[in-house]
Amino acid sequence: MTSIQQDPGSFRDPLSRVFIGDGKVVRAFTEMGAKDIKAVWEKPFIQKSLASGALIESTIVEPSSVGLAAPWTMAMTHPLVPFISYPYEWTFSMLKDAALLQLDVTRGALADGIGVKDATPYNVQFIGSSAQFIDAGSFERRRKGDPWYGYRQFCEMFLYPLMMQGYLGVGFQQFMRGAVNGISPDTMRKLLPASIRRPRKGRMTHVVLHAAAQNRFANSEVNMKSGAAKAGMNASVLDATLKKLTGIVQKLSLGDKKSTWSEYSERGHYIESSLDEKQRFVRDAVASAPRKQVWDIGCNDGVFSRIAAAHADYVVAMDADPLVVDRLYNTLKVEQSKKILPLYVDMSDSGGGIGWRGQERPGIFDRGNPDMVLVLAVIHHLAITFHIPLAAQLDMFRELTPEMVIEMPHADDPMVQKLLVNKRAGIHDDFNLDEFERLLTERFDIKSKMLLSSGTRTIFHVTRKG
């Protein structure tokens, strides 16, 4: 069995690596890493977390049984996560739930004498709306006097992004996508001045003093760990820190609750029969073959994602409005949905990888192979608002998927007219049904199409040519 490949995003912990292939994930450990993990693996916290599903299913195997040799002396297998997502694609509530899971895991481990090596949101994945801790290699035996090694990372990658949204009303996603290591204490201190009038619990200690202490000790060679241990620093002190941080994170809430689309649905412009027939059309298209993974681009409140989920193994529901997606996530969470993964994705600005060589966190198109994509009420926004030509959009969809349901609003559609109102006359004259259908049929075969009752939109079910 030699078909597994090393995950390009797995290299930061020198003691373990992740490999992917043969329908599973393999985590391999060096001799030192194996020693860490063996010392804690049978402890009640780990076993309880495995049983509850908070920690990803993990089976210890011989490295040779999965095609690995030296330096790997131990390995474990995990099931594949249906779709890998990253914190800059999550909404506020998703990052908050991931933060609380990280804190919960760290506290539970600490109580059982286990140290958690880091505190990054990349330790967490969402299976539908359920957060799961996936980095089974994070655990090690905690030694007397050990600090919480992940504290700074927790601040930079969980706490500050959440504060940014909760205290400033500024979306964290662009920052997280722009910096794979998160937001530094110094940057956060500058972003979060004392003059802000919103609640700002945790600012003084975790932002202001943190930034000051980092600057003060930037060139220090002091062995602070030793001094702290001798001064009585112990697990209960760390637990108190974790507990207080949990309280801060729990109290953080989404600031602005309105956005362009969160209070508005294009469906509001449809006459009732149009919506019914559109749902029927989508249902028939999705149900016409077994589907492993469907992407719903421009999912809004998820009505079509739910239709797709009834006929597919997994649905990735994407929208360019994080507040709309946050609302969908919270609804799916209440329903305990594990089949629909809601993500904040702006198709006009997606696709590139980030981190080391741009490969550490691959772009969204490199993380999934949808066998069907729904593109409903989307292309006019991309074409008119973001000036992405229809041909370029269809080229992208052709590369992405063998089958698609796509909705084309005509030039006289009220939403198209609204988007055009302040545009120079004539510059979007090529945005019309005839031109769209010409471009579409160059790339796809039309299986069926329907003019919606509104009379201003046509919906197509197409398969890729060739």
Binding site: T205, V222, M224, A231
Partner: protein, 58 residues
């Protein structure tokens, strides 16, 4: 057996402070050098003891 991350001196101090009263006590002792007999800025020589292979957690 340590995390691959550097806890960072400044971050470590603040993480202790973040625990509240218990942490302030620890920081006070560190600052006063009551345990090591040395100030917080001169603790290098006191490192070895805490690196012992104590298998129990505290």
């Amino acid at each position: 057996m340590f995390s691959y991350l550097d806890a960072g001196t400044g971050s470590m101090l603040v993480s202790i402070l973040g625990s509240g009263l218990a942490g302030i006590g620890v920081l006070w002792k560190m600052a006063r050098g009551k345990v090591t007999g040395k100030s917080v800025t001169n603790l290098e020589d006191a490192s070895a003891d805490a690196e012992e292979s104590d298998s129990s957690h505290d």
